[in-house]
């Protein structure tokens, strides 16, 4: 008898263990399985009348007639960065509305900023349930689209999101096309993310230094800072010397058309004349200038190992200037600095002053796409239309709850409490992509950014670089090898830490050629020229 008890107890125990092992696997499917058993309800007309109180624009509140919403679905929405504290409350409210309008519910997922690029890659390549995901040029939208990671939206848009289809201008839809197909819904808010000089204006006034407008005046400013404030580092670069020194320098000094990779160079004025910047006399000249900056102590000898961000260093008062930041972030840095040091001040000159042109942000810069693995493409698109065009959805996901998270004061956005106590700061969900210019609320301090934008509007020219989708399938091994060579041999040169610049360039070029530089450059150039002629750019 006792023996039997023991035995059955053992069986029970092992079954329990087994159940706990598998419990983890079933969690993700719960939403959908539970949902489908619920009776289908919410006919489009009924839901519309019940939400009549909404102040949304007329076109947006109508449920698209073209899609079948009889079956309930659960959408997985993915955004980069960190989730705001009050996200669960916002999500619950959104779900209440979406359930009524579209017979759908949604989970807002966030990747956090730690290793977001790895997570992004995995989300798209493992066939996980993702229905909507953020896209941008800096998340490699063009390459992913080209490789088939997203679903083409051309046929879906008129039926699933007709209002959104009309809302986004035709030329923007065209601009995001990759191989003739639309893969992402672009944001329509026009802003500039072009760079400009950032510097400590209070110190400039104090020592009567020139206002940086181009490289020579910027040099003079740094020189003045070094002389008058020997302990203050004039220029903050950080460990990404390629991005925040070389690219920005080429942008303002040589009018490079965009951040072309692999040492390729083409100017904005003559994009078709593509040459190799690496190994050219121009590169040697620039590297010598960087070295002279390092030698004069304009930046640290250990810039490559720097941990603090450039903006932090400006705010903390450990550095005086930055070579290139966009107007919005400059404004943010300035605000942060003033809250800590009210008597300090930052100055800003857009690179456009030196180059004579500014390119408004390319539609690819902020968008949302439907991954190839999504099974609910129609509903996802319809939901996204709501996010953009329905004022209730839009305001809630951009600014949180009015009264709890923010108030509107004289047409301006006003945060309740401060960034630490507020559970949903302005654009707390990183909702750059579903910004709707008609509903947007700004803080008074943003007027400074708007003034810069107005200035840039006068010299605006189209961005001709971002629309290019490189296909590196043919040279992907070479590309990875080259990245290594760059880090090992070019970065120290950029940071001015190689004594013999000529010799350093020679070593770098040798290694780069061995890694397959010629093959990469040749293929890249061919694709670039094909792109230019295809899109009619001279």
């Amino acid at each position: 008898m006792l023996k039997n008890v023991n035995k059955s107890a053992g069986v029970a125990l092992s079954m329990a263990l087994m159940a706990s092992v598998f419990a983890g696997c079933s969690g993700s499917n719960n939403g959908e399985a539970g949902a489908s058993s619920e009776p289908a309800k919410a006919s489009p007309s009924a839901s519309q009348s019940s939400s009549a109180a909404a102040s949304s624009s007329a076109a947006a509140s109508a449920v698209p007639a073209g899609i079948d919403t009889s079956k309930k679905v659960h959408l997985q929405f993915y955004m980069l960065g960190n989730a705001p504290k009050d996200l669960p409350k916002v999500e619950a409210e959104i779900n209440k509305m979406a359930q009524e309008d579209l017979n759908a519910t949604v989970t807002f997922n966030f990747t956090t900023w730690t290793d977001w690029d790895q997570k992004y890659k995995l989300l798209l390549s493992t066939g996980q349930d993702v229905d909507l995901i953020f896209t941008a040029d800096w998340t490699q939208y063009q390459q992913y689209a080209k490789k088939g990671a997203f679903q083409p939206l051309d046929d879906l848009l008129p039926t699933a999101a007709p209002a959104l289809n009309d809302f986004v201008p035709k030329d923007m839809w065209n601009a995001v096309k990759i191989n003739g197909k639309i893969y992402t819904v672009p944001a329509t808010y026009q802003e500039y993310v072009t760079n400009g000089f950032v510097w400590r204006e209070d110190l400039r006034k104090k020592y009567n230094l020139p206002t940086p407008v181009d490289i020579p005046t910027f040099e003079a400013y740094m020189d003045g800072i070094k002389k008058n404030e020997p302990t203050l580092q004039p220029l903050a670069i950080g460990s990404d010397v390629r991005g925040s020194l070389n690219d920005t320098y080429l942008d303002v000094f040589r009018k490079k058309v965009g951040a072309l990779p692999y040492g390729m160079f083409a100017s904005y004025d003559k994009p078709a004349e593509m040459t190799s910047y690496w190994g050219s006399p121009e590169q040697l000249e620039d590297l010598k200038r960087f070295k002279s900056w390092a030698d004069k102590g304009y930046f640290s000898k250990n810039e490559l190992n720097e941990k603090a961000t450039n903006q932090e260093k400006l705010v903390n008062g450990t550095a005086a200037a930055m070579l290139g930041d966009n107007p919005t972030r400059f404004n943010q840095t300035n605000g942060n600095m003033k809250s800590l040091h009210p008597d300090w001040e930052l100055g800003y000159t857009p690179f456009a002053v030196a180059t004579g042109y500014a390119t408004p942000v390319h539609p690819i810069h902020n968008g949302f796409a439907i991954p190839a693995s999504s099974k609910n493409a129609e509903r996802a698109l319809a939901f996204y239309e709501k996010m953009v065009l329905d004022k209730r959805y839009n305001l809630l996901t951009q600014y949180g709850f009015e009264g709890t998270n923010y108030t509107v004061d004289g047409g301006y956005y006003k945060m309740v409490g401060d960034a630490n106590t507020n559970g949903f700061p302005r654009e707390g969900m990183q909702g750059w992509a579903w910004r709707n210019p008609e509903f947007m609320l700004f803080e008074p301090s943003y007027d400074g950014v708007k003034a810069i934008f107005d200035q840039l509007d006068k010299v605006q020219k189209p961005d001709i670089y971002t629309g290019f989708a490189e296909d590196y399938t043919e040279y992907q091994a070479e590309r990875s090898a080259l990245e290594q060579v760059e880090k090992q041999y070019l970065f120290p040169l950029l940071a001015g830490q190689v004594k013999d610049v000529e010799g350093g360039v020679k070593t770098f070029m040798d290694k780069a050629k061995k890694a397959g530089l010629d093959k990469i450059q040749e293929s890249y150039k061919k694709q670039w020229l094909a792109y230019l002629s295809e899109s009619g750019i001279q």
Binding site: K7, G10, V11, L13, S14, L17, M18, V21, F22, C25, D117, K121, L124, S125, Q140, Q143, Y144, K147, G148, A149, Q233, S239, D240, V241, S300, K301, N302, L304, N305, E306, K307, A372, Y472, T473, Q476, A477, E478, R479, S480, A481, E483, Q484, V485, K487, Q488, Y489, L490, F491, P492, Q497, K511, K514, A515, G516
Partner: protein, 307 residues
């Protein structure tokens, strides 16, 4: 004459035991063996819209980036070299300190030493890297501030690759030896008091007791720890190297290991094939290593072998 049991009879006889084993088997099958199918990714051209087994087979092309820059040997050499030093010095140090601590009579001193040595284990590598940067920074690091105050010339540590071999080893030991020391300490506590008493009666001093009793008794623990660390020799300590060296190409010749290299290569591309290829290379290498070493140990003394 003992009757030989077949597998089926064995299964019937011990069915409860096997049933209890099932969850564990299922766990390993689901989490460790089924995913191995993914190794096939290393040999195909990755495509978002094709199921794995219908993707184009491209042989070893995905492995190409590993030797393309001619760095594979240097990387393998660095990786193994560092790990051998870590394993060798790490074990030697923790055994020594464990014996020393175990000899201490005062209970509170023992506890405090143990905790103090164990604490660095919980410091994240990110924080460690910030500490290191603040010590060795050329312009305002602690080291150079002290040097300048003493009237000496400041040194730029971040441009001297050779120094970093030492620094990385030192910080590795600082951070991790407390952990294995605690394991050894536990093993020492498990050794019966009677051995030591007998030795004392025979007139053995502390040193002799440690050498002739404690060390031989620790051999088993040592061998197991050694085998465990050998298995991961190709993939250990990514954080340490990545955080300490980061983007500084000047130091790569002595500090680049496979993990950091692969991470940097694949950060710029999203190809699953190449990422898998790198993983397969590391795993095969680790597998070979552990089989060889275990084989050797089994030859010498069968009881100490892992399997």
């Amino acid at each position: 004459m003992p009757k030989k049991y077949g597998f089926v009879q064995e299964l019937i006889k011990n069915r409860t035991l096997f049933l209890m084993l099932l969850p564990v088997l299922a766990y390993f099958l689901v989490n460790n063996y089924v995913p191995m199918v993914g190794i096939y990714y290393a040999f195909v051209r990755f495509d978002f819209n094709t199921p794995l087994f219908r993707m184009d087979f491209i042989g070893l092309k995905n492995f190409e980036f590993l030797w393309r820059s001619g760095k594979l040997t240097e990387l393998t050499y660095n990786t193994i070299g560092y790990n051998l030093i870590f394993i060798g010095l790490g074990n030697a140090l923790s055994v020594t300190v464990a014996i020393l601590v175990s000899e201490v009579k005062s209970k509170w001193f023992k506890k405090i030493t143990q905790s103090v040595l164990f604490l660095p284990y919980f410091v994240s590598f990110v924080i460690l890297s910030v500490i290191v940067f603040n010590i060795f920074n050329f312009e305002h690091g602690v080291l150079n501030t002290v040097l300048k105050a003493l009237g000496a010339d400041p040194v730029d540590v971040y441009s001297k690759p050779k120094v970093w071999i030492l620094l990385i080893v030192v910080f590795y030991l600082w951070k991790s030896f407390g952990y294995s020391m605690v394991i050894y300490l536990a093993a020492i506590t498990g050794i019966g008091e009677d051995y030591y008493e007998a030795a004392k009666i025979d007139g053995a001093n502390t040193f002799q007791r440690a050498w002739h009793i404690t060390l031989p008794m620790l051999k088993n623990t040592f061998v197991i720890l050694l085998l465990f660390s050998l298995g991961t020799i190709m993939k250990g300590q990514f954080d340490l190297f990545y955080q300490m060296v980061g983007n500084n190409g000047l130091l790569y010749s002595t500090t680049d290991i496979l993990d950091t290299y692969v991470y940097r290569s694949l950060k710029v591309t999203f190809d699953m094939g190449m990422a898998t290829a790198a993983g397969v290379y590391q795993s095969l290498f680790g597998f070979t290593l552990i089989m060889v070493v275990n084989g050797i140990i089994r030859k010498i003394n069968k009881e100490y072998a892992l399997f």
